[in-house]
Amino acid sequence: MRNRHRLALAALLALLVAPTAGKAEEQPVFKLEMADGRLTPSQLSVPAGKPFKLQVTNAGTATAEFESKDLHKEKVIAPRATAVVSIKALAAGRYDYFDEMQPKAPAGVIVAE
């Protein structure tokens, strides 16, 4: 029990003191747009085996949540805001992403090749 408390506390501290600076090396940036369930592009090609960044803009009027179970990412984005999500090197394949706040909208796909 005490260990669990300690784990939570450690994570909280890590959150507070974690450095905010990005990696020194330049990573390619790919742009995605979410607008009330519309995802543009619905299919995005990225190079396999290389880390990259996704610049996700919420162009809609509702809050969006960029989510991907395949990429293990979740990021809430306010209307008219832009967020950057770092993705580690991917094996070749298809990775779905979707707006968690728009469950009826079709998912988009990131294709690593």
């Binding site: 784990l7 974690a18 949540e65 179970k69 009826k104 998912a107």
Partner: protein, 281 residues
């Protein structure tokens, strides 16, 4: 517009369901205890809920205002720690309820000593708090984003939609309480126990995903792809994933942890209970 309102109802309900499961089952369980256990248990449970609501608002505020200053990994660590602790607490809770479920309802001479009991109540408190905090902060951010920036005249409809979502959530909660009263304790507990363990499994899967993302666990490659057969996105797939941990494209590590989790749960449920845990105090 109406599609968006329907969306608000659904999202608010969905985000509340997880917390409701945990709180509703604990409350139904407490309702079947002797008056003294019930009284002190409820105090801990509902303080946890209140703390969770307060924390959700604060967390939502922190996540919105300090969005750029929080590192991505720091946020991931925080979220991962939250789901893993919640999963562990749920499993512990099921074990605890099991041990105490067998003793007589009315005049239960609790097997727990004072110190163990206090620790268990702390777990109840922390579990309720985490359950509300996790999904609650998302609900706050979602609602805030959906309401802010609208002309005052247009705010009424989304507010009503949000209230309808909460009402649906309350209805679900009521169903749980009704189930606790109508069904036999044994049957009710069997069902809710499975629901809780599935939920803990889902949280564990989210946690494992977070650990892989942080680079603390190897992914071990994608094992299969059933996304065409049964996706883990959309209305049904998303709910299935959130409540059971289903993954359409699981990685090796996810399959291993998921299998290990259910094997140890199965072992725990089948293995005879140690006699010491049911001996009256």
């Amino acid at each position: 517009m109406s599609a968006q309102l329907g969306n608000i109802v659904f999202i608010v309900w969905r985000e509340s369901v997880e917390a409701l499961l945990v709180i509703g089952i604990l409350e139904a369980w407490l309702a079947s205890r002797d008056p003294e256990t019930r009284r002190s248990g409820r105090k801990w449970l509902w303080s946890g809920v209140a703390g969770g609501i307060l924390g959700a608002i604060v967390l939502a505020w922190v996540l919105t205002v300090f969005d750029d200053t929080l590192s991505e990994d720091g946020r991931q660590m925080f979220q991962t720690a939250m789901v893993l602790v919640a999963a562990a607490l749920i499993v512990q809770m099921v074990v605890w309820m099991r041990r105490n479920g067998r003793t007589l309802k009315r005049d239960m001479e609790t097997a727990l000593t004072g110190a163990v009991e206090r620790r268990s109540w702390w777990s109840v408190f922390l579990l309720a708090l985490l359950a509300v905090l996790r999904e609650g902060s998302e609900t706050v951010i979602f609602l805030w984003g959906s309401l802010a920036g609208r002309p005052v005249g247009e705010i009424g409809a989304p507010v009503l939609a949000a209230l309808a979502g909460f009402a649906a959530a309350a209805g679900t909660y009521g169903l749980l309480q009704l189930g606790g009263r109508i069904l036999s304790w044994r049957l009710f507990f069997r069902i809710t126990e499975v629901m809780l363990l599935c939920l803990a499994g889902a949280l564990l899967m989210t946690g494992v995903g977070g650990l892989v993302d942080l680079g603390w666990l190897p992914g071990l490659g994608r094992l299969w792809d059933t996304s065409r057969l049964l996706p883990d996105t959309g209305v049904f797939g998303g709910l299935l994933a959130a409540l059971t941990g289903y993954r359409a494209r699981p990685m090796g590590i996810e399959v291993i942890v998921f299998a290990a989790y259910w094997l140890s749960i199965g072992w725990m449920l089948v293995a005879p209970r140690p006699a010491a845990s049911v001996r009256p105090a």
